[in-house]
């Protein structure tokens, strides 16, 4: 769709009531010192792009610096690449990224196991602190989770038994 630029200075009455001091949406103290929007600044030198960098499609290029330690990889990387086909204005950008984060967690566990490291979930979750400072609530919570888990397993397994008995009849 073609966009039409309006020369706002030609609009009758433009700026007649402008008062830079009455500008609560713009908290900077020296707005009058701001450069005009159309002046290009000296772009900092570009950090070498030696890893895959997914950049927002709401900007034309990769910024002069960027974090380079965790390029997208695996299935989560595929999902992230899909997400970055859409602008930040769209759920199709953000929801896949959240999903990719969850996939990444599973991939992280698998990578740990592949490297012979069994993650210590108790330590990673900092449960030592709960045990030390919040023991009663912590034990209650864990007991509740265990009870619900055991109950669910028993419920599901009894359902299977009934089905197999019906099948035998």
């Amino acid at each position: 769709m073609e966009t039409k630029t309006i020369d706002y200075k030609q609009v009758n009455g433009w700026g007649v009531d402008a008062d830079p001091k009455n500008d609560p949406t713009y908290p900077m103290q020296h707005r009058e010192d701001a450069p005009p929007r159309d002046i290009f600044y000296d772009r900092p030198p570009q950090q070498p792009i030696d890893v895959e960098v997914l950049h927002s499609i709401e900007r034309p290029d990769v910024t002069a610096v960027f974090g380079a330690t965790l390029p997208p990889s695996g299935l989560s990387g595929v999902i992230r690449r899909f997400a970055f086909r859409y602008s930040e204005n769209q759920y199709k950008h953000w929801l896949p990224l959240i999903f990719a984060d969850r996939v990444d967690v599973v991939e992280g566990v698998l990578k740990d196991l592949a490297h012979g490291h069994v993650p210590n979930i108790f330590a990673e979750k900092g449960y030592r602190m709960e045990w030390k400072y919040n023991r009663t609530a912590f034990v209650t919570k864990m007991a509740t989770i265990a009870a619900i888990t055991v109950g669910t397993v028993l419920l599901l397994s009894s359902g299977k038994d009934k089905k197999s008995k019906r099948a035998c009849k």
Binding site: Y41, P44, S56, R59, T63, A64, E88, Y91, V105, R128
Partner: protein, 384 residues
């Protein structure tokens, strides 16, 4: 080097990682001497920020010693002890030139709505953070500020975020002399916002939270009125009754996405992520401010949508202001406040943990155990 590593929601650990390298001629490498866990780190910790990759190192509040500089770095030298603002800022883009260092346009390729932030997911640039022994600091001519002689490192590390964010919250609230200022949240930033509200001439400062130990702290520290919103019924009605039925002149949301107090917001914002965090505090802020008042937002929310009564904001003629803090812009004034004794940041620090116990630190802070207000992490190079 030893570093914190994110493994998934509510799972972090300390691991050995490769040393950071100079990637850009304006980079510096800093040996971290103090690093904090911030309330906004909990959004990452809980898995609420999109594009938080497993293996990330968090930490946007840190100070340290410069150990290596890129060929174009002139503003700091090896051996300098520096405050590292949490923003990554180029210093020369359209926004940085106006002092909007929190909105730099050359620091975050991954999203345009937020600037670059150390250790705050790929949505904020993908930079590793300072909860590590060493950190790469881009644009070292802009952000890092030499710690004045004699300044306590515990004070300095809180100048990277907590103090400037609390101060800017009060600044954005447009406080006029005699105004009633209401602050939601008695975490470190809320406490500092309440303290700074006085610097801007507030006539009355009220803080609401649900943790009695934090309310007790802010009541003495700010000093101010402080109430537990669990004990006052409808918090908006309570504020109206206590402000001649008008509401507060200025309200500061220093809570953000982890807010408690409303079941619908908690389920949709925190448990199911149907909105970008629980907006309870912001909802209350809009309803508790007087007509024509100002709502200042420094609480962090995600990039999608939130349920707030925007119709009330229009009908009441409110001004809503928010931003990531422009730390670099505020540092000279805040260093002066600390050196002159007007602000005492280090009083907020309640816990000091070795970096190896980072998982315990996160759990303690997230669950508010042992009356925790502000935990700091000590790298092994400092504790040895």
């Amino acid at each position: 080097m030893l570093a914190m590593e994110y493994r998934g929601p509510k799972r972090v650990r300390a691991v050995q990682k490769p040393m950071p390298e100079i990637k850009h001629p304006e980079d510096a490498i800093v040996r971290v001497t103090r690093s904090c866990i911030c309330g906004s780190d909990l959004h990452l910790y809980n898995g609420n920020v999109p594009d938080t990759r497993v293996g990330s190192t968090f930490g946007h509040e840190f100070v340290g010693e410069v150990v290596e500089i890129g060929p174009d770095v002139t503003n700091v030298k090896v051996g300098d002890n520096v405050i590292v603002p949490f923003n990554v800022s180029c210093g020369r883009c359209y926004f940085c030139k106006q002092g909007m260092f929190g909105n730099c346009h050359q620091a975050n390729a991954m999203a345009t709505a937020v600037g670059g932030i150390f250790g705050y997911s790929h949505t904020a640039g993908g930079f590793d953070g300072g909860q590590a022994e060493y950190a790469r600091v881009p644009y070292a001519n802009v952000g890092p500020t030499v710690i004045p002689p004699g300044m306590d490192l515990d004070d300095a590390v809180l100048l990277t975020d907590v103090v400037p964010t609390g101060y800017q919250a009060a600044e954005m609230a447009g406080i006029q002399k005699g105004d009633t200022v209401l602050v939601f949240g008695a975490g470190p930033v809320g406490i500092m916002a309440a303290r700074c509200a006085w610097l801007f001439g507030a006539g009355r400062v009220i803080v609401l939270d649900q943790e009695d130990y934090r309310l007790e702290f802010v009541r003495n520290y700010a000093p101010c009125e402080a109430y537990n919103f669990r004990e006052i019924g409808d918090p908006v009605l309570f504020i109206k009754k206590n402000t001649d039925w008008l509401g507060a002149d200025c309200v500061i949301d220093a809570v953000g996405a982890e807010a408690a107090g409303n079941v619908l917001q908690t389920i949709t914002g925190r448990k199911t992520l149907l909105q970008a965090g629980s907006a309870t505090a912001l909802h209350w802020a809009i309803n508790a401010v007087k007509k024509g008042g100002v709502v200042s937002i420094v609480g962090v929310y995600g990039p999608t949508d939130n349920l707030v009564p925007i119709g009330n904001a229009m009908n009441k003629g409110l001004t809503i202001r928010g931003n990531q803090t422009s730390v670099k812009r505020l540092l000279p004034r805040l260093i002066d406040h600390v050196q002159s004794g007007r602000l005492n940041p280090k009083a907020l620090i309640t816990h000091r943990l070795p970096m190896e116990e980072v998982a315990d630190g996160y759990r303690m802070f997230a669950a508010k155990l042992d009356n925790c207000i502000k935990p700091i992490l000590m790298p092994p190079t400092v504790t040895k």
